[in-house]
Symmetry: C2
Amino acid sequence: MEVYITREELIRALAGVQGVVERRSTHQILGFALLTAMEDFLQVTATDQEITVINRHAARILEPGVIAANAAHFFSVARILPDAPVHLVSEENHRLVVDAPPAHFRLMGTTPDDFPAVPPFEASAVLTIGSDALRQLIDYTSFAIPTDDNRYGLNGGHLESTTNAEGTPLLRMVTTDGSRLCYAEAPYQGQFGMGRHMLVPRKALVEVRKLLTDPEKEVTISFGERAATFTVGSSLLHTRLVEGEFPAYRSVLPTSWLRKVTVQRIPFLDALRRVSLEAQDRASTVRVEFSRDEVLLSARSVDQGEARHPVPISLEGAPIVMGFNVKFFLEVVNCLEEENLTFEMGEALSPCVVKAGERSDVLFIIMPIRLE
Amino acid sequence: MEVYITREELIRALAGVQGVVERRSTHQILGFALLTAMEDFLQVTATDQEITVINRHAARILEPGVIAANAAHFFSVARILPDAPVHLVSEENHRLVVDAPPAHFRLMGTTPDDFPAVPPFEASAVLTIGSDALRQLIDYTSFAIPTDDNRYGLNGGHLESTTNAEGTPLLRMVTTDGSRLCYAEAPYQGQFGMGRHMLVPRKALVEVRKLLTDPEKEVTISFGERAATFTVGSSLLHTRLVEGEFPAYRSVLPTSWLRKVTVQRIPFLDALRRVSLEAQDRASTVRVEFSRDEVLLSARSVDQGEARHPVPISLEGAPIVMGFNVKFFLEVVNCLEEENLTFEMGEALSPCVVKAGERSDVLFIIMPIRLE
């Protein structure tokens, strides 16, 4: 293998796999990236055996070839090189020469034979969706996926296909951790084909999100047997899907409300952030008192003190006092961008529906907690 | 106590003590700052019982008074307040009301009686030095003070008074960790009065450094019995001095050389940084081959690979191969700003003297290590 590649392109290529490689695995090869030089690109592959990322980057190939190199170390080396074309040459015993005069490195690679094979994948359905639309689906929902992998049925994003009133096909992503539910949808073209009892793992969504840097690009999602691939430009992410029965969420979507609150997002977000400093109990409890023109947030910590913070609102329905986990509420309010939010509520312990302005494509449900 | 203070000034006041307060001490009061409202300022005091910092900040005092508040928590609160005047009021049971509408906090303070008294201090000698001059003394030397507090005689900065050829009094700071020695001096006015077997603790130098933000200001250093104070504007830092006999460093300052190297600092720094990626043995060994026009740096790690990097030099004397701890060399080269460096050397295991351009006020000695 012999390749010339710009330093910038090499850095981008290696940066793209850092989130996938396993630095601390006992299975050392999972810390390596597979470099494949062919045609007019350098392909970089990394896998944690659940998720595989393959990126292609423009390069001048003098001799095609393949070698595996430690992804984190090679990335450190690439970032510190002089800003000039980098000459990569594989040598005997899987050594990788990285030449960027005056800097000269010879890295210990390993045989590509040890590198896990990319799992076979046969697409049974393929759809395309705008990069920005997919980014929103992920940003509005992925934070509610529990980080604890053992939450059967909750530990991934639930994807399904639906249609709006005009019959346009929509991709809908729903997530929940039992205390809140996030729901977002966006139009797509093509064919949806994900199994009913399958979820997209949190880590895959985090890594897919990193590929969505150009809002103009299209993303292709292919569905196969217990797996899916996401393709954006010259980057491909393959992920196994998590098996699990997502809760029947439609039954918890309230169909009516007794109280409706309209509030400006930024002042409400500021108030949540400030009051959260004193919400130090296990449930991060914030007391939320809705009255005619104002909501009063308050929290009290045993050690530090207490905080109170009013925010102007308009309320339809009777005043009410509720309790929430302030962190859960913060994440929802923080992921939105609209100027106004509405909360649709029932009684003190009934789910609170959060809507963003006039949007019907996103919706959040936050379960209140009992105040002591 | 009742005070109005701008949010910006309150943040600055609390930021100034964060490095001194002990967040994890079993002695809870050391996590608190003492707030004293008097005349036309709010005074903030914090101590770890070795170092005490006292800052004064412009405020409107409606009622003088004093209260102790958790420094880290109050700082978090101050940073998140709306950008408006902050109203501080002490209440019964040592509660501190922090009012910045619409945000309203009531923090649990504690009685000022529990706060450690500022140690009595009587100055036996006082000098003044420019802020920028003191900053340089600290920046050129403090990194070589061992972080291990048990290195008797090395665990602080050695200060002494000397004069230059014109008879101008100079303050000289010398530090060493046994593998390198850093030496810097700058003119001062007044009287030096530090005991012979006393050192300034590393943490005190770090905290004094934070006070030196305005290069135009003068610093007053007062010396007392096993203690010193540094005063900059309305900030005062009191530190106990560490007892310890600093090594007789003059005897290790080489008086002649066999080899003299001139090198450009930036290319040499780049080379050290790059090669350091492969200097992964316990001594962080870099091999340094000086020849007529070039120095070749190289390092090899068992796991990752090897690096080689030439840098142009001019050498007086015979070529030589030496070994150094790359981190030690990096810190020295990194703290300087001059375009050119000179290295004065003897044999392979003799100390290497690093000088910055034509400057005689700073000097570094780095001990080579034996190459295997």
